[in-house]
């Protein structure tokens, strides 16, 4: 397949971030858009996530605020693209010591400044909300805003809706090199050359390689997260609990591990057993549940932990959207990139999230 026409926008990466950008851009019906991916949607990070839409413990509060705005968009998104099983369950982050309670109170105070409502609950209050949590906890922070989503439905429906708006897709098509001739990007791919006026890099952990094709350093690292999944159980957990959630179909997902092992997506018994221990520490009744699978996702973590969103300073017409918590931020990032590409400005100031912050001269001011 060879397409000689020049697109207005090519988005590389069809995960929760790339497919959201494609969908939101296509809503405006201004651009010819191509969404390209080296694999099939959901074969990467977005298909191997716990898929929390998680706000309340995101700090500093300006980052919490960004997450809050995105979470607020989910109900509207669902009205447009269909049921993505978004549930605003409320989020519980248990803590086990009194020292952590001090931190919790400080967190609640800080987040209140940007309108994130956090309650610091006593042990009894937590157990009233979520009776199956371990009585060994000391307490928990709780916020109504947190929830979760089905990432498989989310990406599938983004792409379906984008296609309805004439977005073209090219999957199983790896980008091999990118050249910029004048104002036009030429993408050499496995399936031929594609041309575009604007280019959006949304390759998740693979964004680093895409950046290198433009001679740009995208300062991210790959972090493996291993997650355990039980067979479907009758509903018994009501909230999204830090580390644990029960999906719509009854499966319980558990995990909060972090390892820097490059793109290695294997799961190991070391982490799997520790995760099982964590699951039982949090929810003792889970000891009787059958675990049927573990999976691992390669998360993208920008070096300072915060999203990188915006135009790439050295390369006019090229944009980057790389972040951990892509599921949480997906509706907002799609909206913001659409504003940036079409209107040239965004409704939320993105300067904190620019790639420029990593420049030598800016390091001290962060």
């Amino acid at each position: 397949m060879r397409i000689d026409k020049t697109h207005d926008v090519i988005i590389v990466g069809s995960g929760v971030v790339g497919s959201s950008i494609a969908y939101h851009l296509s809503e405006r019906k201004k651009h010819s858009i191509l969404l390209i991916d080296k694999g099939f949607p959901l074969s990467g990070t977005s298909g191997s996530t716990q898929a929390w839409v998680w706000v309340h413990s995101k700090v500093p509060s300006w980052y919490g605020e960004l997450s809050l705005y995105s979470a607020e968009l989910y109900p509207f998104l669902e009205r447009k693209i269909g049921d993505v099983e978004y549930k605003r369950t409320g989020g519980i982050a248990p803590f086990f010591t009194e020292a952590e309670k001090e931190k919790a109170l400080k967190l609640a105070e800080k987040q209140a400044e940007v309108g994130i409502d956090i309650e610091v609950l006593s042990r009894d209050e937590v157990l009233e909300k979520e009776p199956y949590l371990s009585p060994n906890i000391a307490g928990a922070t709780f916020s109504k805003i947190d929830g979760n989503v089905n990432p498989f439905r989310l990406v599938e429906l983004y792409i379906k809706s984008a296609k309805k708006n004439d977005v073209q897709t090219s999957f199983y098509n790896q980008v091999i090199s990118i050249q910029k001739n004048g104002d036009i990007f030429h993408l050499e791919t496995l399936k031929g050359t594609f041309k575009t006026k604007k280019l959006v890099i949304a390759g998740g952990p693979w964004s680093k390689e895409l950046g290198e094709m433009l001679n740009v350093n995208i300062p991210i690292k790959q972090v493996r997260g291993q997650i355990l999944i039980t067979e479907p159980l009758q509903p018994f957990l009501k909230h999204t609990i830090g580390g644990v959630r029960q999906a719509d179909n009854g499966e319980v997902l558990i995990g909060y591990s972090k390892e820097e092992v490059g793109y290695d997506r294997r799961t190991t018994l070391d982490i799997v057993q520790q995760t099982a221990k964590m699951a039982i520490d949090f929810i003792p009744h889970l000891r009787r549940a059958n675990v049927v699978r573990s999976f691992a996702g390669i998360r993208v973590i920008p070096l300072d932990g915060f999203p990188i969103i915006g135009e790439i300073p050295e390369v006019e017409g090229a944009y980057i959207a790389a972040m951990h918590s892509g599921v949480t931020l997906s509706p907002l990032v799609g909206t913001l990139l659409t504003e940036l590409l079409i209107d040239g400005e965004t409704s939320i100031d993105l300067s904190r999230y620019s790639l420029e912050r990593f420049n030598e001269s800016n390091i001290k001011s962060i």
Partner: protein, 105 residues
């Protein structure tokens, strides 16, 4: 249907025991699996599927297909093909997703 005397293997089991399936007492031979114990009593439907509630029973007999799940002594989703029947054992058919928050916990 128990094979009383196998044409090649002869008699293999000697001790008869009692177990319960959905509260009903049944006989089995000590040394048989729960799946075999049910089938010797003519019970082939061990439960239902989780989505469409269709009848399910023994399929692979090798612990791989999970089609033979039953509840044993209150523990849901036990492989009946890989568990030996015991005297007094309480077996229940698998009618739904496991209830880990249930009364047995």
């Amino acid at each position: 249907m128990q094979i009383k005397k196998h044409p090649i293997l002869g008699e293999k089991f000697t001790e008869e025991i009692t177990f319960y399936f959905n509260e009903k007492p049944l006989k089995a031979m000590k040394g048989q699996t729960v799946a075999a114990a049910l089938m010797r009593n003519g019970i082939r439907k061990f439960g239902v599927s989780r989505k469409l509630f269709k009848a399910r029973g023994l399929y692979c007999a090798n612990g791989r297909c999970t089609s033979c799940y039953v509840t044993i002594n209150g523990l849901d989703h036990v492989l009946s093909c890989s568990t030996l029947v015991e005297d007094g054992m309480n077996v229940h058919s698998n009618e739904s997703d496991p209830d880990v928050g249930g009364i047995y916990n």
